[in-house]
């Protein structure tokens, strides 16, 4: 008798414990919102992307300290696509299907984004892409928080033309999709402004190019024709260092032939000797040196999160902060993390920029951004010399390319597509 009672009690206790454990697990699963982080932590892009992973982790951490979202805690799921473009697609599938994340923050290079696109559209996920890019794309499932060409390249060229009086143009870039598309847009833009063919020199170099002697000598020759010459550089990554060194050695200073770069930011400058670069320019939507209360707070919390007061902040980090804050607002507005509801709630959301003003999410999934042009200082920071009045709305499809002139993107009813031809009033269905 006592034996059976004891056995029954034990059994009941075990069953109860098991149920409790199960319910705790269930509750746990239901009580977190998962945030996927898709940035390379190894391979060539690790230099730039690791910082962005840390940024998202910091934002998740801060949001949890504020009490989470919709009463739930946020949980970051970090994967490493290892700078391997096809792996980006696989990892996206893993994040959405296996980890069931509600949103993904990730990618740096355009080719990694292009690799993710088919997967994210098929599985109806959400991706926030934080880097300046070449445009000509607008997917329902992607929010582009970096600059489109009209928010970086075109204003920089305007600055050169109007403020510095540049008459001859060197478009120098690394040989891949972003520089080629950007230079195509810039060439069309310059020609529309009346610049002649012989006043434009276009030059492409392989990744990691290190022997710049003849190219710099060519630029020098091109620049000695009496008209003020400027270089618009889409040279990528560490090839910039020997390029600027060669400019310095051949005695070309920023006053003679200024170079404006679109891929050189604080992070890229932090590892190199900046003496030969002083006075050259970069165009971004954010600089660490900008005097703004929001920016100061961000830098302070970044330094305490990363536990290193020497770490710099840069433009793609700001893009992630804006993207994350917008997503939080949209989820609160939609009261759910379901992709379609959040996607519709995102449009029209406004959050403050860290350089003053506000960023607004537009119908084409791009942002309004201020454009800043800064001169490189010898401490690796930028001194802002010019900025646009107010924000520039991002344009997904460039107005200066014959193929995309008539195309707009509008993800609100009634158009609801990323590639709408205003002449034929048709959507092509191909959003990228």
């Amino acid at each position: 008798m006592t034996k059976t009672v004891f056995a029954k009690r034990t059994l009941r206790a075990i069953a109860l414990m098991a149920m409790l454990a199960l319910s705790v697990q269930l509750a746990h699963a239901a009580d977190t919102i998962k945030v996927g982080v898709l940035h390379s932590l190894s391979g060539t892009m690790a230099i730039s992307e690791t910082t962005l992973k840390d940024t998202v982790l910091m934002l998740v951490d801060e949001q949890n300290k504020k009490g989470g979202l919709l009463g739930k805690k946020l949980e970051a799921v970090v994967v490493d696509p290892a700078s391997d473009w096809p792996l980006f697609a696989e990892k996206t599938r893993e994040l959405i299907e296996k980890e069931k994340v509600d949103v993904i923050f990730g990618c740096w290079t355009s080719v990694s984004r292009k690799s993710v696109l088919p997967v994210i559209e098929e599985l109806n996920g959400l991706l926030f892409y934080p880097v300046q890019y070449e445009g000509e794309e607008s997917s329902k499932n992607v929010f582009y928080t970096g600059a489109a060409p009209n928010q970086q390249a075109i204003p920089a060229v305007d600055y050169f033309m109007n403020e510095l009086g540049i008459k001859r143009w060197v478009l120098a870039g690394t040989d891949y999709v972003y520089p080629r598309t950007t230079n195509k847009i810039l060439e069309a833009y310059l020609k529309a402004k009346g610049v002649k063919d012989e006043d434009i020199m276009i030059n492409y170099t392989p990744f990691g190019h290190s022997d710049w002697q003849s190219i710099v000598a060519d630029i020098k020759k091109f620049g000695s024709a009496g008209k003020k010459t400027g270089v618009v550089s889409t040279i990528n990554g560490d090839a910039n260092v020997p390029f600027y060194k060669e400019l310095g050695n051949q005695g070309i200073s920023a006053e003679d032939i200024p170079v404006v770069a679109f891929s050189v930011g604080e992070e890229e400058l932090s590892g190199i000797d900046t003496k030969p670069l002083v006075g050259h320019l970069a165009a971004w939507n954010y600089f660490m040196s900008v005097d703004d209360a929001g920016n100061d707070d961000f830098i302070k919390s970044w330094h305490s999160f990363i536990k290193n007061p020497k770490r710099v902040t840069n433009d793609p980090m700001e893009a992630h902060v804006i993207g994350f804050n917008m997503w939080v607002k949209a989820v609160e507005k939609a009261k759910t993390t379901a992709t379609d509801a959040v996607e519709q709630a995102m449009i029209g959301i406004e959050v403050p920029n860290m350089t003053g003003g506000t960023a607004k999410m537009l119908k084409n999934h791009h942002l309004t951004k201020p454009v800043l042009i800064g001169e490189i200082q010898d401490d690796g920071q930028f001194d802002v010399v010019w900025q646009t009045e107010g924000e520039v709305p991002g344009d997904a499809w460039s107005d200066f390319l014959p193929g995309s002139k008539d195309i707009v993107s509008d993800w609100t009813a009634p158009i609801k597509c990323g590639n709408h031809n205003t002449k034929t009033k048709k959507c092509s269905g191909q959003n990228y």
């Binding site: 060539t44 690790a46 230099i47 510095l164 040989d175 030059n203 492409y204 170099t205 392989p206 990691g208 190019h209 290190s210 022997d211 002697q213 003849s214 190219i215 000598a217 060519d218 020759k221 000695s224 024709a225 009496g226 560490d238 260092v241 020997p242 060194k245 060669e246 310095g248 050695n249 051949q250 005695g251 200073s253 920023a254 006053e255 200024p258 590892g271 190199i272 000797d273 002083v278 006075g279 001169e375 200082q377 010898d378 001194d383 010399v385």
Partner: protein, 545 residues
Amino acid sequence: MRPWRGLAAVLAAFILLLPTLPAAAEEADYDFSAAVDALRVKSYADKEVAISALADTGNDRSIEVLEGLLVGRLFYRKSDQRMVLAEPQDVDYEIRDAATGEPLGTTGKRKLKKIGINNKLRKHLRGTIARLNLAHNDPAVRMAAVKEMMRNLDAAASDLLRAAMARERDVKVREAIRSGIALADLDSPDAAIRLRAVTDLTGSLLPEARNRLSGLAERNADGSSSGPDETVSLAARKALQSIESKLALNRLAETVFFGLSLGSVLLLAAIGLAITFGVMGVINMAHGELIMLGAYTTYLVQLAMPNHLDYSLFVAIPAAFLVAGLFGIAIEQGVIRYLYGRPLETLLATFGISLILQQLVRTTISAQNVAVSNPSWMSGSMEINPALAITYNRLYILIFALLVFAALLAVLKRTSLGLQVRAVSQNRAMAKAMGIRSEWVDAMTFGLGSGIAGVAGVALSQLTNVGPNMGQSYIIDSFMVVVFGGVANLWGTLVGAMSLGVANKFLEPFAGAVLAKILVLVFIILFIQKRPRGLFPQKGRAAEG
């Protein structure tokens, strides 16, 4: 008695005058320090005015202050707003008062605020300093000042040049001033003066001269001259022709130099491989990583001696030779000696080693590129004439590559180690029979080749980025050069590297950097089809081994 009285009078007069003299000086000093203080304004436009005002004070110290501003050494102290010139020391700055030059000790970086400038101000500053420097004692400084002024000639500048011409004694500077005045005279209303100016500029390689003359020489659509005077236009056309032919010659020289410089980089990268692959026949895929180790050694040496950057390279060269050489001997003893005669396995094993070495650097130092600074004597360029300048870093590396080549050749031809290396590579069995420790020779040879790769790394650290992946970009080039030049022939490596470099640079202007590289590769493929043993094949019985 008399002289004493006279002296006393002079002394008395001096004492009487004394209070007034310093007062005047004080006033000027006050004006000057107010002018220096004026640079502290925030707006760049106001700063430009302040710079001109400072130059106009005529104070001797104004050049120093302006030059300090130009190179970013002019600060103000946050505590008392005092303008100071600061020299960076180890951690702190050594400061002195900008207006008086009085030393003020050292202070922390955070206590100072830099006077910022932008490109427009830099240009204005250079022009202002050049005008002040026209009266400098050093002819080289005067020369630089004249050149700076020529870039931006206005009426005031040409008046200054004319005034400077009258007192100039140095022949070269006189010549430069004459060109400058001639450039200004091209605008003269008097046709005769214009004609003389054109004649003065004939053969000048100054880019400004060429631009101005081509403006004068331009023809209208009907073939008539666009200038107001036919004879001046004709003279300008003739002058332009002589300039163009001179320029073409200079450009040729420049391209050849660029080619030799690229060749020297290829030579440095390949010469170690010429030993390990060429002489020993080991396919060493980790060769690039040995170069990388040399470059990282340079970085570490620079970290260890931050105050002697200018000499760090001389320490780095033997250090890199030792580090890379020891790594090479370890690789040979640990892996390669078990794999002689099995090229495929050697290739795979050394490829694995290259990955291990890359990861080693990534984990111990950093995944990011590291900054190796150039010593001051390797920066800048040597100007041969206004159209041809040779950058020092390239020039020194070309000389260095040739020195390394000569040293290696001497080791192989003149030392007993070299004799043994050649003996083993030609006939191992016979060498052994003669009492040569062939295993020891193998290890030493591999160490020598690896050490040379490390030395190449020191040179390459001055040209390109130092990072874990840097070796990858040189491994293909190195094999290309050794195979093209002919395996087992050092001279072949030299000729191969130089000819590939020059060919690449001659193709680049026409084909672009990407296509030029491809064309060179295609050429090598075709060449190897025709002559599989390279430029200088080994002849005789050794070739069979």
